[in-house]
Symmetry: C2
Subunit: 276 residues, 2 copies
């Protein structure tokens, strides 16, 4: 999956070349997709346990899944799906909203650093430091030169994370303009979903081309070898879930974490225990 | 379930009167228990969504599940089970280990306050401030007069949480001495579980009567009306999961959170959206 979904680094990126309704490398349809995803759950959970176990013996490795995408692209649904595959006690989930005054007073990476996974954990970010080059660009919250510095800062930051044992899996959930309309309408049509709706979402939607361009630039300028971006077509939720599960599995298989050897005398402990 | 499992407040508590292998009020057996628990999942998830939704309109209410119990009593397994019932993005999970030097330098409730759920969330504590009257008592980490002050501090703390909208569900996972031996042996017999084993667990086990007494005192002295303790027999995992699911459901049903009314003009938003 990785080569198939990986955003081309360095080159000019055109999101128009990726069909949000496509299912690259995926199962044939919805039913097959859901079944295939379910089959990935057990190996994924086993790898997570080994990652966590290894950290108790000093292995510093951990995973950080970064989810970005337009409103209704399915970031929340993906978090729910992904955590459902893992032992949640080993997951560190963080959803980033508009910065609080305290967060705003600090450099933009400050709140990100505080939310990072520790060794053995799977971190999951619903939005991230990329908002600081996305909405910040579209809404002109900072100057162009500041924006340019931020791309470089992000690359240095992510490189240092990778050097310290963080496997970054950065996913752009790619939905179409039409699909967003459908999903927003669903929220309006169901009174139980009104709380999820914000009239500001329509204002942001009007800036769709600007956001798209900002995403193209972010994916292009912040795809280093140690932390590439993946473009996951997300109009079909079953494909989105399958593709992200598969991506995580591939990364964890490559990490291949191992249960640590016992640092104590097993037979002696068994004998002591049987006396109690 | 609540009256059935509730620890008698004020009275002298004898944990010997509770059979860890019993299934008070529960389904007839394992298969029935698992099926019954599965049936509680959908209403529980619906209530959680409503709790979260209500918080977006200013409802400050939230839930805090506190899990305590001896080693291997199933705190970690319970966290996994409970989060699996909910949307994990609305859960705030915290596992408390031995205090770090920084935590130790602060009052014992300092690290607890930092980990509390915010409005709309379900907080889940794997161990808690009760360690500061449990291991602290057994290992004589503080003086008797300090211990006595702590019970009172905990009661005031929990009362103030309740006054601010926190529904506390404090659960003591009650396992037998024999069941703990079996579970520790399982860890020794499986090399993939050696990382979960600590030779110190056997030292703590030798202090079983002292811990039991410390639990009896904690449950007795810190069962205020606003924050009672529940004793959940935990030798049978299926019963433990069912009972805690049921307890949470009962508390959430009593809270009866409501979806907020739309604070915007739905028809106007629909019209605007259809133009985009």
């Amino acid at each position: 999956m990785r080569p198939l979904l990986r955003a081309p680094a360095g080159e000019r990126l055109d999101l128009g070349a990726f069909d949000p309704a496509s299912t690259p490398g995926g199962p044939a349809g919805k039913a097959e997709g859901i079944a295939a995803t379910a089959q990935l759950a057990a190996p994924l959970a086993a790898l997570q346990e080994r990652l966590y176990a290894a950290s108790t013996a000093g292995d510093r490795r951990r995973v950080l899944l970064v989810l970005q995408g337009m409103d209704t692209s399915g970031k929340g649904g993906t978090v729910k799906h992904v955590v459902g595959l893992f032992n949640p006690a080993g997951c560190r989930i963080r959803s980033f909203k508009a910065p609080t005054p305290e967060e705003h007073a600090h450099p933009f990476l400050w709140r990100i650093r505080k939310a990072l996974p520790v060794p053995g954990e799977i971190g999951i970010f619903d939005r991230s430091h990329y908002e600081d080059v996305l909405i910040a660009r579209v809404r002109e919250l900072v100057s162009r030169s500041q924006l340019n510095r931020r791309y470089a800062q992000i690359n240095r930051f992510e490189q240092s994370l990778a050097d310290d044992g963080v496997t970054l899996v950065k996913v752009f959930l790619h939905i179409s303009h039409e699909e967003q309309r459908e999903r927003l309408l669903e929220r309006l049509d169901n009174p139980d979903k009104h709380w999820k709706f914000n009239t500001g979402d329509i204002d942001e939607r009007a800036l769709w081309p600007e956001y798209r361009h900002a995403y193209e630039l972010a994916l292009q300028r912040c795809s280093i070898d140690a932390a590439p971006w993946y473009v996951v077509p997300a109009d079909r939720k079953w494909y989105r879930n399958w593709a992200i599960t598969k991506l995580l599995l591939e990364h964890l298989e490559e990490l291949d974490p191992r249960y640590p050897e016992a640092a104590f005398d097993v037979e002696e402990s068994r004998a002591r225990l049987l006396q109690t």
